[in-house]
Symmetry: C2
Amino acid sequence: MSSEERKKTRVTLLDVARHANVSRATASLVLRKSPLVGSETRTRVEEAMRDLGYVYNIGAARLRVERSQIIGAIVPNLTNPFFAELLSGIEEIIGATGKVVILAKSGDRVEQQEMLLRRMREHGVDGVILCPAAHTESTLFEQITAWDMPVVQVLRHISFDMDYVGADYATGMRQAVDYLASLGHERIAFAVHGPVHSAYQERVDGFRDAMLSRGLDPSMLIRFPTQLGEIAQATHLLFDRATRPTAVICFNHLVALGLSAGLQDCGLTIGRDLSLIGFDDVADAEAIRPRLTSVSTGPVAIGEMAARLLVERIADPALPPRRLVNDTTLHIRQSCGRPN
Amino acid sequence: MSSEERKKTRVTLLDVARHANVSRATASLVLRKSPLVGSETRTRVEEAMRDLGYVYNIGAARLRVERSQIIGAIVPNLTNPFFAELLSGIEEIIGATGKVVILAKSGDRVEQQEMLLRRMREHGVDGVILCPAAHTESTLFEQITAWDMPVVQVLRHISFDMDYVGADYATGMRQAVDYLASLGHERIAFAVHGPVHSAYQERVDGFRDAMLSRGLDPSMLIRFPTQLGEIAQATHLLFDRATRPTAVICFNHLVALGLSAGLQDCGLTIGRDLSLIGFDDVADAEAIRPRLTSVSTGPVAIGEMAARLLVERIADPALPPRRLVNDTTLHIRQSCGRPN
DNA sequence: CTGAAAGCGCTTACAG
DNA sequence: CTGAAAGCGCTTACAG
């Protein structure tokens, strides 16, 4: 069958209507489950659709109705399991509403992100869930407003005049610091990595505030490499300072994984020689040894919340902007002990 | 601005044409970078597009040309980092060709997969990359053919009359078995889990063949729970048999992670008391201790290959079906030693 | 409940 | 190089 013939082969709503002996309008009503159609007629049309192998053409419909049933999701990357879980939550909710999600990664590059937003607009997405690339200018907010495109920010924010769903990083940090302090730790380091963005800043501020409110020195901020593979070898950075920490809070799952490995490589026993607290607590956290005490931010739930928010935003663009912050919980396992 | 006014606001190609004092046809030619347009005219039109904030409407264009620039990707789940890496490869290549990918997960449920395929057809996807849900009937192949939809199977296959990209599981298994045998192991177990599908079968067959060709007993197939969280507690299954293995090959990354943790919980030293080999070797593999010797299947590369194949398939539907199998490599680290 | 008609935003011959 | 026109597959009043 040549592509010429194939084209003619396409079954259209008009074909269905003729086959069922009704008008195109009626067939269209059946399609959209209108109550205006009699049940006998309805059945006849539905049979015709089945017989002919009719497939609804959403693209054509979209040209009339302003709804593409497509939403976009832009994340910095896909290989970090944290984002994979986030996406899983997004897909779950969006899929359940009958919509479809276009996925793209920005690589934390602003120009790439700009290109992706344009491409998504060209595809007429009904809205997008955006985890803004690091260093995104806040002017992006004005652009988005001018485009009149529903957007919810996830995990990171550039403007609170736009919907935002994230985690309560400040509380998470306080939970971690309080727990370590209760064990008797005073020299607590915060092991960070990656580019600076709102979530980065919130964690750092949260750490600082939590330390200060306990009268502890909040200045032990130690930077690790961005790539997971390089973190373990950089473990010595923890001990290069005049004062040596007795406990370390990790910026995220990757840092926790890397340091957990690196400390073992140094011959240290985690929980005895040094206490370690993870952050994000993705599924793998359960599976490393010693079991990692970790602050859970709930990426799947955040993805679900963001998707629901976007759906509501699309339904009612006049809604005031909302800010949803998921609670964090400290999962106490085995990686912390008293200082020695 | 009400939604009424907004609709009128939409800038169309006709607006651009008028603004630039050309016909709609000419504006369209500029859009598609046709050489038929003089450079002076081209510039004028491009300026008009910028001035007016014109956004190309791919959906409208699609109604005429049979190309949506959308491709679909269906995977069993997103939280398994293996699939996340696969997707990353797919998105990379598809994005680079200017197309966009619709993402969905089947949850390894055949009906869900069917629904997703229909939804994607309604969106007029140019093709889909499908990791078939476990227990997919091979009749799906006939359906897909009847729909005349370009599909490449990835990781799992239901028919070789359709493009397929996967890993060379048989060789991977042989590499693992040969390595263990060279260390002196004879009682080697294969720790499997999850539903049965072609990739499962190929690994099991590969294990069996590799064992047999070395004159070893291939019957130690041990089933573990599907959920990562439950694997560690099930570690005892390794020792419930009359003959106790001295080495274990893991079905995939999840099993490796779970058993690595579980063996440590049992107080065993991996590499001394028992040798362990992982499979898939996703990014995390580098970060567990003891370092896991593992067969790498290269999910990112597989995703890239699948995307390229689909692009070629779309360009030329008459191409004979192809079967691409990515080489595996054994990464020797620290989790294996001599039997004792 | 149904039919005829207009229109969504583009592309594509066809004439000039 | 340009203009006028038809058509892609749908939805939506409007009249009956």
